[in-house]
Symmetry: C2
Subunit: 297 residues, 2 copies
């Protein structure tokens, strides 16, 4: 499949650059470098940084202009996973089949590794702005979009509502709030920041924003569907855990057929939003929308 | 005393602005706003943000140009205290006589409140840069200095070495590393960022850097001295706890008389470094150096 090859190609670029940019010195604080690298290289699909590079190219930019922002978003995503997995939050021992950060390095180092990745993400973007004066105006705008999406009105806000809602009977609006803030916000910021660096017009940004929201919500609903009717072998995990844990999901409010119809609708509207872009370049985004919304794992 | 009035005056400005800038909405994530505000208004002396404003003025700038950077540094300092106090780190139930953040809001929210403050600090500085195009070049440089001082090669690095050294017999170099990174780095960044925003020359920055390092180390040594020979009533806490806890301090390597002589030497060299600045404006920094190094609490 063409999409898979394309994802693989960009993932390789990102992995190589992450290896270069993550500190790995034999200095007194080397323990934190180990912990940061452990979670960064724990098998992530690199969806967010790939979106940064691809949207930069979509609007006519060079992916290399956006690479440092792509790496930074992956660091922000990884820091959020390390902190989410902590005993005081989701208390997960494993992620993608590997021990979580605090299980390997202890809770103290895990908190600091998360802090370190968030801080390093900002350092990386700030240095990139200083070293690329020509595009500094665009890049500061991209930095603002990313910072806001990661903060208390974005991802952190979503995580707060998620943990205070645990075990409570939340309504549909609260569920949508958690989904939108905890996951979609950073995906949208990935798409928009790459496009801003690539020189997108405000019309293009609006279209990409529509695309981002549609695939973000579609992705979440698909997650809920797979937990109900997915194939546990393909998924690599048990199905039915949401129901067992009384977790409020999209399927708490809608029948499964309606949920599937909604993902189809979201996928179509995502693709429609991009109909004015270059036909060849936009194919990746169409295939990606289809993949996210119809995936089996 | 003139110094006390001056500190009080700037503290009031900072407290008022912090109240304005910290979110306080009745939105789903309001719990985190409460937690962030709780620790921000838990009785800090505002030393770091005051230094930002005063060095900006020292080199001829207006303090209002640096106010958002001052607030951001206080947010970074506060986030580091919240995370340091966590059970997985220093495990402190009280700070300045008040319950620590995780004792009031739980560990999960405390981790997120710290994350939220760090992220909001960057958002605040980025917005300030976007809204002040004229000084954007200076402000991006100040942002870089602050980001580096807070990160894995600065404050976080120091905290890592501190927690992995606990209960171990560290050497003098390791102790100095912890002091320099964990505390002095952000104090130095406060002094330098204000001066950069105010338009300091590179000679002025070098002098201020010398001042910052001297008072940073002097402050730490004074802490160790007070724990040995201070007046517990004036200090508001027991003395002798370092020795009871077998904590390695400056006094593990030096006699108390030598330590006192060293703080006197550091104070003098801090003041000497600033001898080329405006005589009237520099008085504050002289009095401050004396206060930090000879303080009784």
């Amino acid at each position: 499949m063409k999409l898979k090859q394309e994802l693989e190609k960009y993932k390789n670029i990102i992995d190589k650059e992450l290896d270069k940019i993550l500190p790995n010195y034999n200095t007194p604080q080397k323990k934190i470098f180990e912990a940061m690298r452990y979670s960064i290289f724990a098998g992530g699909k690199r969806l967010r940084p790939i979106l940064v590079l691809k949207t930069c190219e979509l609007v006519g930019g060079k992916y290399s202009d956006a690479i440092n922002f792509a790496l930074s978003i992956e660091m922000i995503h990884t820091y959020s996973l390390i902190h989410d997995d902590l005993p005081a939050m989701d208390n997960d021992d494993y992620r993608r089949g590997k021990l979580t950060n605090h299980k390997v390095f202890g809770e103290g180092i895990a908190v600091l590794a998360g802090d370190g990745l968030l801080n390093l993400a900002f350092e990386t973007m700030i240095n990139d702005i200083i070293n690329d004066i020509d595009k500094s105006e665009r890049k500061i705008k991209a930095l603002k979009v990313i910072a806001e999406s990661a903060g208390v009105f974005g991802m952190i806000g979503g995580q707060v509502v998620d943990i205070i809602s645990e075990g409570r009977n939340i309504d549909e609006n609260t569920l949508l709030y958690i989904h939108e803030k905890k996951t979609s916000a950073l995906i949208e910021a990935s798409i928009l920041s790459g496009a801003i660096i690539g020189g997108a017009s405000s019309d293009e940004l609006e279209r990409l924003s529509t695309y981002a929201r549609a695939i973000g919500i579609g992705y979440q609903i698909r997650d809920d569907i797979l937990d109900r009717i997915g194939d546990s072998e393909k998924l690599g995990k048990r199905v039915g855990s949401d129901e067992e844990n009384n977790k409020v999901t999209y399927l708490s409010f809608y029948e499964i057929e309606d949920a599937i119809r909604e993902t189809e609708r979201l996928c179509k509207s995502a693709i429609m939003a991009l109909d004015s872009f270059d036909k060849e370049k936009v194919k990746f985004f169409e295939e990606l929308a289809n993949y996210l919304v119809y995936r089996e794992n």
